[in-house]
């Protein structure tokens, strides 16, 4: 699905990613863990195509296409979804209108006719259940006045609506209490199929109790320093990041 080779990227001239290699296949869930400042969020922003993140070297192939050449909206239309760590508020724009625009822009990109209003509303109704999102929230302005948990649930709701093939969850667990975490995780689990893939970025092991990854990678100082199965997450939880830091301290 997605192949990342020797990816290097800088922000304001400072190199943050220092050669990332990662391959994610359809049906897989990968987790990236790492201490603060290791480059986790940079990786998700680079993949989504945020301005201010300069790719200096390397390549990313997504379903056969050179992802780095695509505009952010085209990456989204090709099936890359980023669940934001800090979802953005758009006052006055209803969630429904926002999603309808998003879906129809993608459909237009693929040469499809806009979705019928009836079908769209049916889809909203179906997907709302997935993250136990209150019907009222769907009609409210995008993220405006949402609690932290509601914002994260809304991200997963949008993911469900857009049905991407590759989803990045950027610290989706941050700021969630245990109940909200369970709802979000169960939403993601219901969306897992053999045809899509997830990259779960998290600081803590907690989320991975609910979204069981196939692979866990440790990002430190802009590089993946260790990879393993789901047991790696537990090991990290137990020992903390200090061991990793000691082991891979750059000279």
């Amino acid at each position: 699905m997605i192949t990342i080779k020797n990816l290097r990227a800088s922000v304001e001239g400072k190199e943050i990613l220092k050669g990332i290699d990662l391959e994610i296949k359809a049906g897989e869930v990968h987790a990236i863990m790492g201490p603060n400042g290791s480059g986790k969020s940079t990786l998700s922003n680079v993949l989504a195509g945020r301005a201010d993140y300069e790719v200096t070297e390397g390549e990313v192939t997504f379903n056969g296409k050179n992802l780095l050449e695509l505009a952010p909206e085209d990456r989204a239309r090709e099936g890359v979804f980023l669940a934001f760590q800090y979802p953005v508020e758009i006052p006055g724009v209803s969630n429904i209108n926002f999603l309808k625009t998003a879906i129809n822009e993608t459909r237009e990109y693929k040469g499809q006719a806009p979705m019928e209003a009836k079908d769209f509303l049916a889809l909203v109704k179906e997907k709302q259940h997935l993250v136990e999102l209150d019907g009222k929230l769907a009609n409210r302005s995008v993220n405006e006045g949402f609690s932290g948990g509601e914002k994260k649930r809304n991200e997963i709701f949008q993911m469900a609506m857009l049905n991407p093939s590759f989803s990045i969850l950027d610290e989706t667990d941050s700021g969630l209490d245990i109940d909200a975490l369970k709802i979000v995780a169960s939403g993601v689990n219901k969306l897992r199929t053999k045809d899509n893939a997830f990259l779960v970025i998290t600081h803590y092991q907690r989320l991975l109790d609910y979204i069981i990854p196939d692979f866990v990678h440790v990002l430190y100082n802009g590089k993946i320093v260790k990879s393993g199965g789901k047991e790696l997450a537990l090991e990290l939880e137990e020992k903390g990041y200090d061991e990793i830091k000691k082991q891979f301290e750059t000279v």
Binding site: V93, F98, T101
Partner: protein, 484 residues
Amino acid sequence: MANEILEEHINSEYKWGFTTDIESDTFKKGLNEDVIRLLSHKKNEPEWMLEFRLKSYRYWLTMKEPSNWAYFPYPKIDFQEISYYSAPKVKPELASLDEVDPELLKTFEKLGISLEEQKRLTGVSSNIAVDAVFDSISVKTTFRETLAEKGIIFCSFSEAVQEHPDLIKKYMGMVVPYTDNYYAALNGAVFSDGSFCYIPKGVRCPMELSTYFRINSSGTGQFERTLIVADEESYVSYLEGCTAPQRDENQLHAAIVEIIAHKNAEVKYSTVQNWYPGDKNGVGGIFNFVTKRGLCVGDYSKISWTQVETGSAITWKYPSVILKGDNSVGEFYSVALTNNHQQADTGTKMIHLGKNTKSTIISKGISAGVSNNSYRGLVQIKKGAVNARNFSQCDSLLMGDKCGAHTFPYIEIKDKTAVVEHEATTSKIGEDQLFYCNQRGISTEKAIGLIVNGYCREVLNKLPMEFAIEAQKLLAISLEGSVG
């Protein structure tokens, strides 16, 4: 990235900038009493109207052009360099649409205004009577007969002068006397046409009434007058739209709109103002210096202004309400958008005289490019206006870092029982919001449209449905090249 897409857009053209090739009867440039006499004669006006014009003109001569009281400077206007009358050469009194010059019909078709009633009747969505004003004269008013059955008068101002002189004499200048301000005096002297509307007692106007103004000829000014009178217990919703060709010169538009609402009457006045704003270097464009004012003369009357201002090089406009009747209500909902070199100084005045009067002001300014956008408003609670209430909210949205937003709220309270609230915010369309939209597959262009329309939603919701959709599109188009 966003910048590049927007750069491309900045070059897209004002799509109403075409001119109509039509034979016109245009006065020589210049203004004096003879010009006014000739104008009045052309229009076959009664003596009292000529007297009104001359009084206005003589008063105007004693006045000084307002100096730079607004936030920004503007070039001096040479009033002798303007032609004060221009009309398509076809006779304005037409028995049927067939007699209208086809070029004119085409012009209005191009603008999306159909003057053919048949079409409108059978059309799915349209239920609007239109008075189309081309340069100095009204070309055609649709649905007159249908309206007349209910006793509603909807015609051009010139016709009203001929056919309803008593109403005109009674109401013209009642809210905006010619002594009101420099441009009101000028308008009183040279106004050419406009719309007149009278809703009789107890009648709810069954359709939207609308005037569409179009400046076509070069070197002319447009000075129209609109007068709306809603008698007791009546209701009307009135729309106004305007466009002009793209020219290098600045053209002056100095109009007057007067609204009178009697006891228990309600008037809703909506404008989508889209005069040519000038090119992206600030060359050309309309100077839009307009006096709009409503008088809630009766108890429990209500006047509501909704405006979407996207055009004109310079706009000065303060649609106001004088709340004279007890329990009367004034509302002002405004979106003013400036891009490139446009300047807008707009707001409202709410003058509370009666008891338990209520006013609401919602103003949404959007500045882009190197434009300046000012809200200037006055809330005045006079002594004796017991329990008057006002709520004002003035929001500014900035796009890029070269534009300006300014808010000048004046509040004068002379009655202790008044409750006046004022809220203001300033925000910027962030890269964060754009990226969030992009990441969901929404192009930057569409994203700006979404964000801006969301920001203006409270105001757009007040517009009649069809107008709201037009306004949404217009906002998106007008925001070319605006995020930095």
